[in-house]
Symmetry: C3
Subunit: 341 residues, 3 copies
């Protein structure tokens, strides 16, 4: 990686920022965490709580905020930056450029003659592509993926191994689907008949926008009549459940183990933490932030921060509730004994 | 689909109901939701809350309840029906009949010579079937499924792609298993030995009755000595965990992200909502309904509706608890301050 | 299995214990649960709550504790043992010895020429092994598994079907990975840029120690810079989420549906029940026990038992909290009405 070594000026020309205190004009040739960095590494720090770690870091160069730079007492060269994490992320990609996957269909792939696979797509061994599916240029489908009939996968999308895309699903451009994700499974819908539960056939599908990422073992059910929609720029973590006819708006991000029940509409640019449960038929406005583990049982009509495990409240109220519960646990039986006497 | 168009009389002869107000004897040729229906579509409505949507719908025909029919002010032809959802579900199947999968074993399937695969089963490329497994007539196994040794799959059961059925598992007739489900994985059992945790071998299996549906990425562990049992007509949604030696009774339905710990017995015709946790060694009687997100830590001995996030109560009491917590959060610190003074 | 029948002396010489009351020197030839055992079976009992079941069991031999043996009123031969479950577990393995899998690479496996597969490994049909991966002696890789580039799998490790091991992941010896698990997926990390969320490339990996077991459909994300670490002897159940850069210490055990957010460090020999949520950047000391469904939002600095659904407390305090909430639900509105007047 000799040709990739960078001095502070080169870093700044790549990712921005300014030389705050670059004592040594040391070139660096790798990236590392503050804790593990050597003098040939660049690290970053954006968090004031890490000031001590920052000051002790052996990194050759650290990219940090103006404020932390001004308080810095260590020996690294410092580049100040308005968004150190973004700069660092770009440097990772500099030192670890994407390996180009060879185009073409490997011999052990099963592709229906009616499927259209662009010659610049890469289809691995053990992949199955059903009739009339369409795979665009630059798509990479790793081993064991199964692409259903009529499904469409847009340019430069990457499917990690063993992803299942059901018939009719449409996935946009530049998406990344992690392993063992399921997209387009039947929604959970039955109606009572004399013979027991009767399955309601789901003739809707799933439509996924561009630049969406779907986590490992995450499930997105197809819609009953209309489609389940995961809009542009959405990022879903692992083990998430998205039920039939849900809409997740542009650039909304949702952490692991969360679940959204049927027909709920989530707005744009929401941030939903891990293990959040959202019941069905709700509307969550754009720019809503929901705290980890929350249980959302009502629509949210005003942007802001919410949380709560027994129904969701504005986060401030929720924290008060948690404090009160805490206090009750401390004062314990005294509380109701007084009530009873 | 010309031959499939239906007028009100034909609909009624297919799915029942009666002509309530069929002004125009318009034939329809597709199904749609109330919101999206055109004059050539049939829609349905069973929910009084949707009365406004119903009255404004552009559908040619709407199937609805007697009550909603009597209040209808729109222009569609109305068929009244005792179960509009059931009728609609049957109409979906009329307009979207199941595509017949061709029988036979595709070339890229790996079938052990000792396995018995009925000539009217359909085995896709990339499927592996181990020794002595038995696959009945009409079974469809989609790509990437793995069927373990001695496993049995009953007539007309459908396995979506990448399902794993471990050795010895038995699946009934007319079941549907969604993608990436795991059936028969080892139960989670260890015993302490001087060398650390010692795995307890699980020699039981999983027995799944007829007409069961298992959701995507759902896991059902095999029993330790006896079997884990998923009885006839059970419907499990996505990302559910069923631990070793659990029994789920006939026609019980369980929504996504729920989990049942070891040896718990759930009765027949229960309705268990999403994200419900049921600890081990409990008994839940038949016809129990458990609210979304509930935490069940005691057996339920009387049929009814239950809920609660800090242990489960009859739902009425649970709702009271939630209301109280809400109130506490509002009155806040005042509550304990008085206690303390 | 004639040659495998055992009399009490033979059982004791295999698994220890002493003859407490062996009236009949009956040989037994199988193992069973207390409830289902016949006179030709051995069963075990370690739980005083099962005394009645124990006394009524039809088992030929029961292995139980000294205490239960002293109170026994049934007719089986009794062997007393300091750890009946361990003894029983060893007897299961006696009657059900592991079937030896044949070594070799099946024809339908896709192995990159640069991968190193030991001749005593067993690679099934439909497995893909990428460039420079290394598979040690005695490894069994079942159908549909995908092993990424440079990944390493240690001696005698077993991968059940459709497991995905991403590039660069290292798995130790004698591990067992259940079906559809995902190991090494990208951590969930994005940084805001003007164009929306920018993916932070994860150049760390996952390192799994020896004798680890990973449950079905469980996900372990790779680290961002350093590695996610699952240390020796850890047992993870199904549908667990382990986020980027988490460390799980030696012999820690975690039940189904739990989740650990990024960079949290869990000590050795912890016992974490099902559906536990642990937020990111915490430290949990060794020998911590966490009750089912708990929500851990602070580091735990002292070993012991903890629980709580609105933040985690020492379990004693948590149980008091639950009791208080229970009581509040009973006294209901009265409580705050008094406050308000």
């Amino acid at each position: 990686m000799q040709q990739k070594s960078l001095n502070p000026d080169e870093i700044i020309s790549l990712v921005g920022g300014r030389k705050y205190s670059c004592v040594l004009e040391n070139p660096i040739n790798n990236i590392a965490s503050l804790e593990n960095a050597k003098s040939s590494d660049v690290a970053f720090c954006r968090d004031s709580k890490l000031r001590k770690v920052l000051n002790q870091s052996q990194a050759g160069i650290v990219i940090t905020t103006e404020k932390l730079a001004s308080q810095y007492t260590g020996k690294a060269s410092i580049i100040s930056h308005s968004n150190p994490e973004l700069a660092f992320s770009e440097l990772i990609d500099h030192f670890y450029p994407e390996k180009k996957t060879l185009s073409g269909v490997q011999q052990g792939a099963y592709i229906h003659p009616s499927a259209v696979v662009h010659q610049e797509a890469s289809i691995a061994n053990g992949v199955t592509i059903a009739e009339n599916a369409s795979i665009a240029a630059g798509v990479v489908i790793m081993p064991g993926c199964v692409i259903g009939a009529e499904a469409k996968i847009g340019e430069n999308t990457l499917l990690h191994p063993n992803v299942v895309v059901y018939a009719g699903v449409s996935i946009g451009k530049k998406c990344i689907i992690q392993a063992n994700a399921t997209i387009g499974s039947d929604g959970f819908g039955y109606t009572k008949s004399k013979k027991g539960w009767r399955k309601i056939q789901h003739i809707g599908s799933v439509v996924i926008g561009d630049e969406v990422e779907i986590g490992a073992n995450t499930c997105i059910d197809r819609g009953m009549l209309g489609d389940t929609k995961i809009n542009r720029g959405v990022k879903l973590d692992n083990l998430i459940q998205i039920a039939h006819n849900v809409t997740v708006g542009d650039n909304t991000i949702m952490a692991a183990c969360s679940g959204v029940a049927g027909s709920t509409k989530i707005g744009n640019e929401c941030m939903i933490a891990g293990r959040v449960s959202i019941i069905g038929h709700l509307t969550i406005v754009s720019q809503t932030i929901i705290a980890v583990g929350s249980f959302v049982i009502n629509s949210i009509k005003e942007a802001g921060m919410y949380g709560g495990v027994v129904g969701v409240y504005p986060q401030k109220k929720n924290l008060k509730l948690i404090a009160v519960l805490n206090k009750i646990a401390e004062t314990g039986r005294a509380l109701w004994k007084k009530e009873e006497t």
